[in-house]
């Protein structure tokens, strides 16, 4: 009897969370899943079309281009953010002059609103008064201004640079936090034993921050896969769809063409890798906590 009462109390206490999950997550998700099997367009009733949207997408070369671009964008950005984040953390972990000032400055990109940083980068890349072309022209590295957002490959590189610039601080903070827990005595002992900087990094630093780096990299992968604003504001997926990723394609189809069913089908198709990544993060975090 007591057990039953306890159960009731437990359910009662859990109910706000359950209601929250039902109303905010499960219901919209279920509804979205249903819509992805319909020909839903804005203002028009939905008709069930089974896997029609999914089959259309799988046959659409634009979808596959967006998949390829999404993979390139995410993979390159995450690798670069991890590498530079590690460098940043290692530098900021040293007793350098003005360390606190550098820490604040290097974390700035993360704190600036995306819209502000994207417009700043738009100006940096501009061939009219843009600082990047100006500097390269000044040192005679180029003969005439380059249209950084005017060619598919260059545009992809340019949007990756902005994403990396914004994302390095997160990786840096995470790895720096990991570095703080590595004992100084261990380094001193290794140095006395004659271990050089490279050996110390590969045999001591890296294993010590491996867990936190992997977790931060996976988190960053999830965010990068979902990144929309940087690409949308800089290139809108162009030129020649060279920076068209799944999020921009979904937005274009959903909100400009108003084909909600198809747009949601794209979003649903991006979910399996995201779920796997989130599952990985959750398992790994809980295992670490244990």
């Amino acid at each position: 009897m007591k057990i039953r009462l306890d159960n009731k109390l437990a359910y009662l206490l859990m109910s706000p969370v359950l209601v929250y999950l039902l109303a905010i997550m499960l219901l919209p998700f279920g509804w979205a899943l249903y819509l992805s099997f319909t020909d839903k367009t804005v203002g028009v009733p939905a008709h069930f079309i089974g896997f029609g949207n999914y089959i259309d997408l799988l046959k659409d070369s634009m979808f596959w281009k967006a998949v390829k671009n999404t993979i390139i964008f995410t993979a390159v950005a995450v690798v670069l953010k991890s590498v530079f984040g590690m460098v940043m953390a290692l530098v900021l972990n040293e007793k350098i002059i003005f360390r606190n000032l550098f820490r604040v400055l290097l974390f700035l990109p993360w704190t600036i609103p995306t819209i502000v940083s994207v417009f700043t980068w738009q100006w940096i890349y501009s061939d009219v008064g843009g600082v990047l072309n100006y500097l390269l022209l000044k040192i005679n590295a180029i003969g005439r201004p380059i249209g950084w957002l005017a060619k598919p490959d260059l545009a992809m590189m340019s949007v990756i640079v902005v994403n990396v610039w914004r994302g390095i601080p997160f990786m840096g903070i995470a790895i720096l936090a990991g570095l703080q827990s590595v004992s100084k005595e261990m380094y001193e002992a290794a140095m006395l034993d004659g271990a050089g900087a490279v050996k110390r990094f590969f045999y001591m630093t890296l294993p010590s921050v491996k867990e936190v780096t992997i977790l931060a990299a996976v988190m960053t992968t999830i965010w990068t896969l979902n990144d929309f604003e940087i690409i949308w504001l800089l290139t809108r997926g162009g030129p020649d769809n060279g920076t068209q990723v799944l999020s921009t394609l979904s937005y274009t189809i959903g909100f400009l063409n108003m084909s909600l069913g198809k747009a949601i089908a794209i979003a649903i198709m991006t979910m399996p890798p995201l779920i796997m990544l989130i599952n990985y993060v959750t398992k790994r975090s809980l295992a670490s906590a244990d």
């Binding site: 009219v128 249209g147 950084w148 909100f255």
Partner: protein
């Protein structure tokens, strides 16, 4: 009933989640507007002003104008309407880019604003989805009271003989040219034909000095480019749409000829700035303001800006209509409108509000505050002194030569979709980026893509 309620909640939550996922702030606004509109619905559906003592509510979504004066004037006007009619008018001034997510959420949740701004493409798109109210009676009433509304502008929002939007203001793309640069190159007049435009652009281009004759861009979302390309294609006798609303007639020698002209301008003559293929709508403005481009095609926004901020450049600037092609001059029309959703519960009040906004005495002040970007809809107002000024005249005169999306056929929702999906820009970006991609192949692909949209 219960199902409808669940559907609404789910639809709003889902759209909000999608918006949040896309990192767009439109979601918050949509939520607000939904609430406001809901309140206005509750205020009563009689349509007329609320009974004494009970204040009605009216929501108005207005496009954010370039000039703050115009934004302030419209808010004041709406407040005045509220005072005179015992109504709380909630005006949301919204950037154009944020409209689509807001409209989408509003239509799906049936929490629509009572009056909303619409470009004519959207009027067509929403008419096709059956969500817009027929406002022919209001247009007729306005014309009988205030005089003729320019027929070409009305045409863009007329479907099956009925109007689904009330014209609010016109915008015309014209040719901007640097008089001093043309003079230095030995020209005394702006180009009258596209061939002259190409020849002059080539002569004016000097990459060593960072100067280019043609400030024409092709960014993915660039609406100026979508309009300009159509203007060029039409003037060569081609089309990107249909004659009958069904069969696409893009794949023609004339369209290929126009595509070759554009390709030559970019790739053979190299008369355009190096980054032009990635330009958004502000690209040509920046190029002209910085002195990088000698000629651009734009609406009145550039002229209004330089008149205020750069009088020297203003003096050096000449304005002319689009150059002519073998078939004449074709100007892609831009019309901006006010409309009412079918789901609005305050339709009569909304019509009264639109009539109040378009009362000529006040409207004249508002439209002239944005001159020459915002042109008047009433034929009589085009005779006012401000529109007879040398630099402003082309903006109102161009309206007579307006052609709309869908040309040579009538404007239709599919033509709007072709425009919104930037199918033309995509094709031309590819043409200008891939040297092995011929104009013939590009136009064949364009035909197939557009036909696919018309077939849906």
């Amino acid at each position: 009933m219960k199902k409808t309620w669940w559907n609404k909640v789910a639809a709003v939550t889902l759209l909000s989640a999608l918006l949040a996922g896309c990192g767009n702030n439109g979601g918050d606004n949509a939520g607000n507007s939904g609430g406001n509109s809901g309140a206005s619905n509750a205020a009563g559906s009689s349509g007329a002003a609320a009974p004494a003592g009970e204040k009605g509510k009216l929501t108005f979504w207005m496009k954010k104008q370039l000039f703050e004066d115009q934004n302030n004037l419209i808010v004041e006007r709406a407040k005045q309407f509220g005072k005179e009619n015992n109504v709380d008018v909630n005006v949301e001034v919204i950037a154009y880019e944020d409209f689509y997510p807001k409209w989408t959420a509003a239509i799906e949740s049936k929490s629509v604003p009572d009056v909303s701004f619409f470009g004519y493409q959207e009027v067509g798109q929403f008419y096709g989805q059956g969500v817009l109210e027929d406002v022919s009676d209001l247009v007729g009433e306005l014309e009988s009271k205030n005089g003729e509304i320019r027929p070409n502008v009305k045409k863009a929002v007329t479907f099956g003989g009925k109007q689904y939007g009330v014209p609010f203001w016109t915008e015309s793309q014209v040719l901007y040219y640097r008089k001093d640069m043309l003079q230095a190159a030995g020209y005394t007049a702006p180009p009258a034909t596209w061939d002259e435009f190409r020849e002059m652009s080539k002569k004016l281009t000097d990459p060593g000095k960072g100067l280019y004759g043609a400030g024409v861009g092709y960014g993915k979302g660039n609406s100026d480019a979508e309009f300009l390309t159509r203007g060029i294609i039409w003037s060569f006798g081609g089309s990107v749409d249909t004659q009958d609303g069904k069969t696409v007639i893009a794949d023609s020698p004339e369209t290929v000829q126009a595509a070759s002209f554009i390709r030559d301008l970019f790739l053979t003559d190299k008369s355009t700035p190096p980054s032009a293929i990635g330009w958004d709508d502000s690209g040509n403005n920046k190029a002209y303001l910085s002195g990088q481009a000698a000629m651009i095609f734009n609406t009145g926004s550039v002229l209004a800006t330089i008149k205020k901020d750069n009088p020297d450049l203003y003096e050096k600037t000449g304005i002319a209509p689009y150059p002519a092609g073998p078939k004449g001059t074709f100007i892609p029309g831009i019309s901006n409108n006010l409309g009412i959703f079918k789901d609005s519960k305050n339709k009569d009040l909304a019509k009264k509000f639109i009539a109040y906004i378009l009362a000529p005495d006040w409207y004249k002040t508002w439209v002239e505050a944005g001159a020459p970007l915002t042109g008047p809809i009433y034929t009589a107002l085009t005779k006012e002194a401000v529109w007879q000024e040398e630099k402003n005249k082309a903006f109102v005169d161009s309206v007579d030569g307006f052609n709309f999306l869908g040309y040579p056929g009538e404007y239709n929702p599919k033509a709007g979709e072709v425009f919104n999906m930037r199918v033309v820009n995509d094709t031309f970006q590819k043409l200008l980026l891939e040297s092995s991609y011929t104009p013939e192949a590009a136009i064949k692909d364009l035909q197939a893509k557009v036909q696919e949209i018309y077939n849906k």
